[in-house]
Each structure stands twice: as structure tokens, then as C-alpha cells.
């Protein structure tokens, strides 16, 4: 399901942006066609790069595919689930990012080093938001794995579930935007290297490897979309309804991203840490609330 929805994700974002700006724009399948063209091409590697640069895109893709394995779908358990699997989820994604960062450093380009530094910094700032949110969910449900948390999220007798559902929805969207380097933190369409974050890291990639990087980004979006789905749709509903709702939530998520990118200005680079920290602050607030409610203070 995540793989299917990931294929259409960038197309829906592009289509939304086209409609919002009054253009006809490309079709939903255009990014897929572009990726197909890139996949059929070979890769060109600079003589200054080493093995790390060549294997980083594949490792990055592999880490996202591994992360998908721990995400449940409705009442269906995740393919791999164990206590604390959300820690595994966060750090397997970090591993992919780590390889992309050292690959950027491997090129020896000062621009790519700058982008790598920014990417590492922003990823470090957004990580607490994810962990605090998951700690909140863990306290709320009494479980510590994605599968248990999400399958018990709506069936607890706690009638404050809507609070955590809304906060989870908001925070996962913000995390997805930061993790995928989208507006307002980064602009994938920017043409000035000095203002880039993620795009400047992958400037030296071409052909097949560039396609893998794009596919990884789409998959990451779909992964966060499925987390959003799990916090807004109760796990106990009919499976066919769940499938339809899953696709609807993913499409809605892509449309939201498209609208945000159409109507929102990009932050100044020095404002990004504050923006990201605000997301963490809201997660902490949710944690404080669950602390008060759970401890019956």
C-alpha cells in the first residue's frame, strides 16, 4: 500500500501546485515517467568520489524500505514488530540520512558539505519531536511498539483520544516536511546553491542514482503518510474501508503539501531552527498533557 501510494505522491503534489497557481501543469504520472527515464540511464561519478558516494543512494533506499516493515496497517500487524520498534524506525531512517551526508562530504565540494551540515542540523532538531510524540502515544496507550500503539489508539477508554490524534496529525506533517526537505524549511525547486539544503547534497548524482534518491523521498513521504493514517483512522474498521481511507489520507496529505508549497513562503535559513523547535515544543506540550491526565494530578 505504501509503495503504491508513494508512486502517485509527487504527481499529486505537482498537480495541486499547478492547479493552485492556475497552470495546466504536468499529469500525475509525470514524476514516474521522469524517474523511468533516469532509471534507464547510467550514472556518472566524479573522479574525486569514492565507494561511499556510489553506495549511499542504495543504502538510503534500503533503509526506507526497512522502515516500512515496522509500520502496521489498521488491525494488520507490521511485518516486523517488537517493543521499541519506533526507535528502530527513527534510527534506520537516520542511518540512510547519515550515508547521504557522508556521501555529500565524499565529493569534496564545499557546497555539498554545507548542505550536509544543514541537513544534519535540522534532522537533529526534528528528532526530539518524533520521540516525544511517540512517548506521548506510548503513555496514552500503554504500549511501546507501532503495531500495539496504533491498534489500541482508538479503543482505549480514554476520551481524550481526539487531542492526541489532532496533535499527532499536525506533528507528523511537520516532521515529514522537514525530513523530506520541503517548504517552509527547504525548497526543492530552488536554483541557488547557497540556499539549498537537500538538493545541494545530491547535486553530483545523475541517472540511476538520482532516480533512487527521488524514489526514496517519495517513499519517505508515504511512510509518514501511513503514520498519519494510523493516528486518524481507527484500526478496527472494515478492511476495504481502511484501504480506501488509506489512499484518501495519502492523497489528502499530498494535497496539503502541495497547497503549503503553493501558498507559503520559505523560511529564512536562520529562522528554521526556531520553526523546527516550535514543533518539538508542541510535542512536549502534548507530553505534559498526557502526563497530567495519566497521573491524575
Amino acid at each position: 500500500m505504501i509503495l503504491v501510494s508513494a508512486m502517485f505522491f509527487p504527481g499529486i503534489i505537482l498537480r495541486t501546485k499547478s492547479i493552485a497557481s492556475g497552470r495546466r501543469g504536468p499529469g500525475i504520472l509525470q514524476p514516474l515517467r521522469d524517474a523511468g527515464v533516469l532509471l534507464r540511464k547510467g550514472s556518472v561519478f566524479s573522479t574525486t568520489t569514492g565507494l561511499i558516494f556510489q553506495i549511499a543512494p542504495v543504502i538510503s533506499l534500503a533503509t526506507v524500505l526497512c522502515a516500512i516493515l515496522v509500520i502496521p496497517f489498521g488491525k494488520q500487524e507490521a511485518l516486523i514488530h517488537f517493543e521499541g520498534d519506533f526507535v528502530f524506525f527513527a534510527y534506520i531512517l537516520s542511518l540512510g540520512r547519515f550515508f547521504m551526508i557522508i556521501a555529500a562530504l565524499d565529493t569534496g565540494s564545499s557546497f555539498e558539505g554545507m548542505g550536509a551540515s544543514r541537513e544534519a542540523f535540522f534532522a537533529m532538531l526534528i528528532e526530539p519531536a518524533f520521540f516525544i510524540l511517540m512517548a506521548t502515544f506510548a503513555m496514552f496507550t500503554g504500549y511501546v511498539s507501532f503495531t500495539d500503539i496504533f491498534s489500541n489508539f482508538f479503543i482505549t477508554s480514554n476520551h481524550y483520544v481526539l487531542i492526541f490524534s489532532i496533535i499527532g496529525f499536525y506533528i507528523f506533517i511537520q516532521i515529514a516536511l522537514v525530513e523530506n526537505s520541503r517548504l517552509p524549511v527547504d525548497d526543492p525547486k530552488t536554483h541557488l546553491e547557497l540556499t539549498m539544503i537537500h538538493e545541494v547534497m545530491i547535486l553530483d548524482y545523475s541517472g540511476f542514482d538520482k532516480a533512487l534518491i527521488h524514489i526514496t523521498t517519495w517513499l519517505k513521504f508515504a511512510v509518514y503518510g501511513s503514520l498519519i493514517y494510523n493516528v486518524v483512522v481507527p484500526a478496527g474498521w472494515n478492511i476495504y474501508l481502511q484501504i480506501a481511507l488509506f489512499l484518501a489520507v495519502q492523497a489528502l496529505f499530498a494535497i496539503i503539501v502541495g497547497f503549503l508549497e503553493s501558498f507559503r513562503a520559505r523560511n529564512k535559513m536562520n529562522k528554521n531552527p526556531k520553526f523546527i523547535l516550535t514543533v518539538s515544543a508542541i510535542a512536549i506540550l502534548a507530553f505534559a498533557v498526557i502526563l497530567i491526565l495519566n497521573l491524575n494530578l
Binding site: Y160, K271, K274, F275, L277, A281, I284, L285, A288, I292
Partner: protein
Amino acid sequence: MVIYLIIMFAISLVYFASAERLVTYIRLIGIQGLLLCGIAILELIEINTVNLIFIIAETIIIKAIVIPYLLRRITKVSGVTKVHRQAMPGFYLVILSVAALFASLILSWSLRNPYVDVIYMTIALFSLFTGLLLIVTHRLIISHLTGFLIIENAVFIFSIAVGNEMPMLINIGILLDIFVGVLILGFFGLRLKPYVNELTMLKD
């Protein structure tokens, strides 16, 4: 339902720490007024009806309409749009705001008693600390005024928490509202407003 409004109120406090434009401050003050009105309606259902209607009208008219309108007038007349230029960066202010939230939580836990809900006390203290933070970290007098409004909202929340037992406290909170209204009107009456320099130099 009331807890949803309280959490939204707390989120608005977090945004105060990260906001940079006065127009955002003014919007947040207006939103807080509406949220406080909602909290008052849900929480003070047991008090005298006339008193309740008065409180609701006061929160909507004064907190959500008049005070934001006056603040907007001040920003238009003075031409000040940014909250601060040389004060503490917002990044640190957000960190301090989170620290204030934890301090409020610990304080309200240690001061807990059967008459006041801990969540009310936490958010009231958080609001108080946020107001104080705005006052001590900003240089513009209008930011200080906003900080004072937030402190006043903290008093109002706390008075609502014990409003059914001690309705007189709510009236004291409303008196503070009127005091703030007069203070803001003073910017017009005393002609403190027109020069940006005058608005920036108070703390020097």
C-alpha cells in the same frame, strides 16, 4: 471539551515565543480571548446566569475584539511591525518557553490541592511565565504590553478554575482587563505612540 480549549490556549502560548510580527501577536491575543470565552462558558455553568452572561460578553468584547483592535491601531499609527530587532533570538525564547512549561508542571504538581485542577494551574502558570519571558526578553514597549496581556489571561484562567467556588476572583480578573484597556488607551491619550524610538527605548 474544555481540555481541548485549554490545550489550544497553551499552543498559542508556544507560538507567542516563536512569533516575530506584531500582527501575529495581535491575532494570538484575539484567539486567546475567544478560547477564554469558550472555557468560561463551559466551566462557569454553575454560577449566576447574569454574572455568566456578563463574563462571556466581557471576554468576547474586551479580550477578543477591543484589545486586539486597539493594539492593531497602535501598530498602524506607530508603524512598528516586527516584535523586536535586537532582543533575544526566537530560538532561545522557544527553549525558555519549554523550560517554563516544565517549571509550571512541577510547580503545579507540588502545589496541587483538591480545589484547583492541575491542568488549569499548569497552563495558568505557563501563561504567567510566558508573559514574563516576553517582557524581559523584548525591547519594544508594545511587546511588554502583550506580555502583560498574557499575564492577565493567566490570572483569568486561574480565576475560572476556582470561579464556581469564588466568583469574586473572576470579577478581579475582569477588573484587570479594564485596567489593560485603559493602559492601551493611554497610548492614544498620552501621545506615546507616534515615534518608533519612544516605543523602543523604554528599557534602556
